[in-house]
Point group: C2
Chain length 215, copies 2
Amino acid sequence: MATPKATVSRLPKKTKPSYHHGDLRRALLDATVQLIEEQGLEAVSVREVARRTGVSPGAPFRHFQNRTALLTAVAEVAQERLVQAVGESLGDAEKANPLQKFRAIGIGFLRWAFTNPTHFQVISGRASIEFDRPTLRDSNDGLRATMNQLLSAAATEGLLRPGDVSRYVLGGRALVYGLARMHIDGQFPSWGVDSADSLNESIAVLDQFIASISA
Amino acid sequence: MATPKATVSRLPKKTKPSYHHGDLRRALLDATVQLIEEQGLEAVSVREVARRTGVSPGAPFRHFQNRTALLTAVAEVAQERLVQAVGESLGDAEKANPLQKFRAIGIGFLRWAFTNPTHFQVISGRASIEFDRPTLRDSNDGLRATMNQLLSAAATEGLLRPGDVSRYVLGGRALVYGLARMHIDGQFPSWGVDSADSLNESIAVLDQFIASISA
DNA sequence: ACCTGAACACCGTTCAAGT
DNA sequence: ACCTGAACACCGTTCAAGT
């Protein structure tokens, strides 16, 4: 017996493009993201995803209960990455004051949403998604708690304009969420902002918001 | 000849539920709105709309080029009503100062969006809509122009905190848009706000925003 | 002038049968 | 254990034929 390992296993475990074994799930997820990128969320059909992955129309249903579950799985991946991006942005502001950290969260959110419009779209399009998944809920709760703590700390340190802290939090969140949605919905041009500048402009808007809630 | 008029025309022009003559268009629009209300935007199928209106599957295509055109028509009606609602809210603040008028626009937007979630959803879901229609574009441009004028006037009168006026405008718009989207996307519960209170809470957030951009 | 009803090429989902 | 391929009940859209 020749040792097949030597010839075959250049890569850790899986070598060939044969999903006909184990990684169909990931392949389907990838194909879905790509399809959304090319044709938009509405254009996602399980059949087309199957076709692009080279499997039969029924195959995806072995991995996802239905179309919604497929999209929800994409949303979970997206949310993970969003949380990570926001976390990194927050990490970069480690020595900053609480208000600047709060800002860093917003910046991280905006940057990620503008850089990954497809993923953001899937997250924010509750319609095609089962949002009541623990993964999605929990990470959201964590973020909100952090924002609340930061602004409370800012208030204690006298950095924050007087006012209801949780309303500043909600306002900040609605602001960046609104900006990100306006972007993926293509509304910036009708608001006098060139699409190419929309991220920078959004950051400027956020900064002016932060400035206006500063003490 | 007996005069048929006397027996038939109790109502102005059209008496019977026969779309089989003139008002199919409106009937289809109504059925679409109702369907969205019951099942959500995604559930809208031309066939189901036709079924509910009592016509054959092909009939709607005599009035709307395709599914998107049908949804776009709903969006146009919705946008009209939104503009009207905002206009009325602005009218109620006739003798107020520019900043309060700016606030009135936001309040009008929020009230309308929260009271008519279906229509707001159709407007904001660019995906299923042809937004590049003059009707939609123009009314949007008008609103933006008004907001800009109001804040510029507020600045002149010394009512506004120093800063870039058009960024306050964009921020205000993103804020109310974000709040409204969070509402229709059912995000308020995960942000610690009871659904029933979401309009009042949103107004409070807007008010705190207005306060923070005041001189 | 407007609507019907059959037709075509899709789609989501299921399930027996294959490997 | 996982995938295929046929099947079913849908859908958007078109178009000849009816009134």
